[in-house]
Structures are given as structure tokens and as C-alpha cells.
């Protein structure tokens, strides 16, 4: 009995914690050094990680730059729009 209940709790926790992601999309306007600067200054990434994400956006057309709760991701997307980057949020894996 106890084991079954534990299972149920674990599963409900997994559902409620389903992460969301912030995605930055490529655009032909924003400069590479600016995008990298935004990733460093806003997310606190190292120069290396910021450049990696920036190149991912540039080459793949998009990159996941953050993951977590929905409200946090909405805040990040709004901040990216402040910077003029094209960003959206979505459920992870969707």
C-alpha cells in the first residue's frame, strides 16, 4: 500500500514539474556579438556558453536558452523581447 502511494506521489510531482523552455529563434537582423552579449549579461552565461548558444541559434535556426517553470520562462521571453531578440516559450519537448 505504502509503495503504491509513493508511486502516485512521484508521478504527480513529475507532472506538475513538467519543465518549460525559452527558445531564441534566428533572425537576419541581430548581430552575433549582440546576441552573445545578451546571453552573457542576462542569463549570466560564460563567454564560451553564450557563444555556443549564439552559434546554435545562427546555424540551427533556434536554441533552447533556459528551462524551468512557466512563469520564469514567460519572464525570460519578455526580457528577450526587450532586447529585440525573437523568443518564445513552450513545454519541453513540444
Amino acid at each position: 500500500m505504502a509503495e503504491v502511494l509513493e508511486d502516485v506521489e512521484l508521478r504527480s510531482e513529475t507532472l506538475s514539474d513538467q519543465p518549460w523552455v525559452t527558445i531564441v529563434w534566428n533572425d537576419p537582423v541581430n548581430l552575433m556579438n549582440y546576441v552573445s552579449y545578451v546571453f552573457r549579461s542576462y542569463f549570466g552565461h560564460s563567454a564560451q556558453e553564450a557563444d555556443r548558444l549564439m552559434l546554435l541559434v545562427h546555424n540551427e535556426g533556434r536554441a533552447v536558452v533556459a528551462s524551468g517553470g512557466r512563469e520564469d520562462m514567460e519572464r525570460h521571453v519578455e526580457a528577450m523581447h526587450d532586447f529585440g531578440l525573437w523568443a518564445t516559450l513552450a513545454k519541453e519537448g513540444s
Binding site: 537576419p28 537582423v29 549582440y34 552579449y37 519578455e78 518564445t88
Partner: protein, 169 residues
């Protein structure tokens, strides 16, 4: 000549009178576009004070749609709800950035503190996004619709932004 120079925590910017007039005129045009968009929303004073209660549909003008993009792709309901709650605030901040540029560019040598630098970076981006939409630059490598004057302006603003990033790094 690079117009920006680092001076400790500050950045100084030197422009010709013609460049200053141009930057101010562009900033005023952007403010007008943003205020026009904000005026489309229903005027609920209480909501407006909280920065919410804005429009729920994206702008029809492609330039404004790029400045104020949907936060969700493929979920029109969530995008619309998010826009209603956040767009007025985003517009206000973009207007404030433009006004900071107008204020600081009015002197022969503009002295920018860290807040001003952030306003300049964001504002230069916003101007380039609008110009790119007007020039129909949609993919990497697009060279515009043939308006050479506008393309020169777009490139110059990109040069300013790129050098400003270099100066603060």
C-alpha cells in the same frame, strides 16, 4: 571613426550634428509608431496603470509585429493572453529607451551611464528591426528591396550597435 569610447563606468559618444539630428528623428519616429500601437488598446485606466489590459492580437504592421512578437508559437490562445498582459509594458519600455537616446544624443558629447547604454543597445536593435521589415530583409544574407539610402542607414545603425557592444565588453 568609432563614435563610442569607454570612460571608466561611463561611455562617451561623439556624433556630428547631422548624425545627432538623424538619431533623434529616428527615435521620435519609433516613439510615434509605438504610441500609435498603444493607442489601439482599450483605454481602461486601472489596467493601464498596472501595465496590463493591452491588445490581444499581434500588430498588422510587420515591423511592429517583429518589435512585439508572440510569446507562444502554435498556441494562439496563450499568445493572446500573454500579449494582453504584457504588451503595454513592453511598449512603455521601448518608448523609454527611445526617450533616453533622445535625451543623451542632444549634447555634443553624449555621456552614457550603464542604464543609458542598455537603452541605446535596445533602441538601436528596435530601429534595425523596423528598418529590416521595411527593407524586407527576412533571411540571413537578404540585401533588401533596393532602397539604398535605407540600407545604408540600416548598416550604419548596425555598425553603431556592434561597436557599442565591443566598447562595453
Amino acid at each position: 571613426m568609432i563614435p563610442f569610447a569607454r570612460d571608466g563606468e561611463l561611455v562617451t559618444a561623439r556624433f556630428t550634428p547631422g548624425e545627432r539630428e538623424l538619431l533623434e528623428a529616428l527615435a521620435r519616429q519609433l516613439v510615434a509608431l509605438l504610441e500609435e500601437r498603444a493607442a489601439e488598446s482599450p483605454a481602461d485606466v486601472l489596467y493601464a496603470q498596472l501595465g496590463i489590459g493591452g491588445p490581444s492580437a499581434p500588430p498588422l504592421d510587420p515591423a511592429m509585429a517583429r518589435l512585439l512578437p508572440d510569446a507562444y508559437r502554435g498556441d494562439a490562445g496563450a499568445a493572446s493572453e500573454h500579449r494582453r498582459l504584457t504588451e503595454l509594458g513592453l511598449v512603455d519600455r521601448k518608448v523609454a529607451n527611445a526617450l533616453a537616446v533622445i535625451r543623451t544624443v542632444s549634447t555634443k558629447v553624449a555621456v552614457l551611464d550603464q542604464g543609458d547604454v542598455q537603452a541605446w543597445l535596445r533602441h538601436l536593435t528596435d530601429l534595425r528591426l523596423v528598418l529590416a521589415a521595411r527593407l524586407q530583409i527576412e533571411d540571413d544574407g537578404d540585401e533588401g528591396n533596393g532602397d539604398e539610402g535605407m540600407l545604408d542607414l540600416y548598416d550604419w545603425l548596425g555598425y553603431l550597435q556592434g561597436t557599442l557592444v565591443e566598447v562595453i565588453e
